[in-house]
Every structure is written in C-alpha cells, then in structure tokens.
C-alpha cells in the first residue's frame, strides 16, 4: 500500500485505476492466451475436484482452480486446501490395489 492509497482510503476515495487495469489485463490475457472458454474451464475444474476428492477431503470453500499467466506462458493453477486424507484411499494403497 502506498501513502496515496492510505489517503484515498481515509477520504473514502476510489483507488487509482492503473493497478486495476493491470490486474484486469492479467486475468483476461490468461484466458485469451489459452483459448479456453469459461465453460470448458468450469468443467475441467469440476472434474479435477472429483478426482482429487477420491483421495482427500477438500476444503471446497478455500479452493480454486484458475488460469495464471506469466512470460507469455499460461498455467492452470489448482489451489486445493486439504482437510484430511481419506481412509479409503489409504486402505486401497495398503491392500496393494491401484
């Protein structure tokens, strides 16, 4: 936070638009570059959660699967907080099945 942001906040003024522009661009470019439409991303997100949920119990509130972009490469970033590993997953491992 800069001195100006602080003053703006104290006076109830809007934040400078430059950083907002940067943030919005980064998000929109991540999608532009990957050519993934939001619907496809949503479906992928759901399936990823399904697979991971087979093994661990997830904190679905705090999780997110999103696109990020840096240096012109786009990455699919999954941030999935784990509550605990499921017993069933450990059992399958122990019995040697895979």
């Amino acid at each position: 936070m800069t001195l100006r942001d602080l003053i703006d906040r104290l006076l109830g003024r809007q934040q400078a638009s430059g950083p907002t522009a940067k943030h919005r661009l980064q998000l929109v470019l991540a999608h532009d570059r990957s050519d993934l439409n939001p619907e496809l991303l949503q479906r992928m997100r759901k399936e990823i959660l399904e697979v991971v949920s087979k093994y661990v119990e997830l904190d679905l509130e705090g999780g997110d699967v999103s696109l990020e972009t840096e240096e012109r490469t786009t990455a699919l970033v999954a941030n999935l907080p784990i509550r605990r590993v499921k017993d069933t997953a450990l059992q399958t491992l122990a019995s040697g099945e895979s």
Binding site: L3, R4, A16
Partner: protein
Amino acid sequence: MLRPRPRRCNFPTPIPSAVPADVPVSVTASAPRTILICSGKGGVGKTTLTANLGIALASQGVRTAVLDADFGLRNLDLLLGLENRIVFTAQEVLAGSCRLEQAMVKHKQEPNLALLPAGNPRMLEWLKPEDMQKIVELIKPHFDVVLIDAPAGIEDGFKNAAAAASEAIVVTTPEVSAVRDADRVIGLLNVRNIEPIQLVLNRVRPKMMVNQEMLGVSDVTDILALPLLGLVLEDEQVIVSTNRGEPLTLNGGKSPAAVAYRNIARRLQGETIPLPDPTQLNRGLRAKVRQLLQTKIF
C-alpha cells in the same frame, strides 16, 4: 545488426539484372531487414511511427523503403507529404504494368527514403500473402531496411502484411484494450516465427503514470514480455506535423516525440541509448509530492 551507410541511395536507376558469376555475393552481410509495424488495435500510432522512423533511419544513412500495407485505409503517403507525387502503386507493380522503380516515390528532402504506396482498396479482395512476399522481394535488393505499415486487425490484411516480414515492432498505448490486442498480435507473430519482436509504447502521459492512473511502463513490458524499443510521449506536435505532411523527425525537430523516434531508429541499429523513466521527467515540487505519495508504506 544493421549498419548505417553514409552513401545516398541511387534508386531509381535501373539495377543490373544479373551479378557476374565471378563476383562473390555476401548475402548475410547486406541482407536487408524487413520489419512489420503492427498493433492489432487501430489508431495507436503505427503509421505515425512508420513515417517518423522511416525519415529518421534515412537521415542516419540507412537506405529505407516504407511499404503501405494498409490497403483499406492508406495514410502513409499523407503523413510523409507524398500524396501528390503518386503515379503508380503496389497494384500496378504486381500486375506488371509498371516497374517497381516507377512506383516507388522518393522523398525529396530525404532521398534515402522511398515509399511504395498502397493500391486501390479493392486489392483487398484478391491480395494473397504471396503477393506481399513478391513485392518485398522486389524492393529488398535496393534497400537496407523495409518498413511495412500493417493494417489494424488480425485478419487477412494483417496476415498478408506479416507474410513478408522477418521481424516486427509492436506498437501499443498504455491502455487495456490496446495491450490486449497487442497480445493477440504477438501470439500470431510467434506462430509465424517472426523475431525479434520489439515494443514501442506510444502516447505515454507522464503525469497520469506518476499518479498511477495509467498502466506503467513495466506493467506493459511485463505483461507482453517484450523488450522495449522505445517510449513516445503524448505530444501535440505529432498532430501539427501530420497537418503539414512533414514527419517530426524531418528537419531536426526537437519535440519529445521527435527525439523518441530518432532514438528508436538508433536502437534499431544496435546502439544502446537509455530509455527515460517517464515518471522521473518532471523534477519540480509537484512531482516530488507525487513521488512521495507513491512511496510504499506497508
């Protein structure tokens, strides 16, 4: 790297069609550079850059051809003040109804510069990438640099223009829509293996940048991941020079944009010229207060 040549261009004297077999021809040493000037979004300053860079390079001794590849909305002739001297265009050259030398318009004050005007807008209906390649191949032997002024958009017009280029300059302004469109274009250039791709940031307003009411220079270069070739300030003189048909770089103009365009020409030839930080340009009391307001407190 491109070396400035002090000698003047002899164009349009006829060129011998064949090189004697016993003369070794070094292709790499003199291979001309074909540079696409593009942006995606329209109205960001492609044609202005092409005209000013063309004049600047020519005055620095580089034999330069500028090719108007914006067949739909041609303007390069007007910016260079050459609109009344056009007899033939790229169209007649392609049709074989005139020689290239007859169509190229040499600039009177800067004889190292010549323009190949765009033909009739109806050319868009049949022009193919191979046609552009053919034109540029015809131009190349007589010049050190060919600048291709691309149309806006990413459709056929742009693809035709890109077909003949080996490197590119992407022009953008520090605005979200222009940067987004530039990103699209960079993607298309990458697919075509056009490199290097360098960035020119145009219409920068230092005051707004200091106030963070505009994308910063590093914001744009980080997002697009391109090296910065130049930075051109918003400058009223650009409009004045357009009115007259005399690019700012002609006659040793000293306005901020004129200096910026000349520096771009020098960097293009491999010179290292530091880029100014637009937020440090104004060192008055107001600027110091603004700077203070931007210091990070936590």
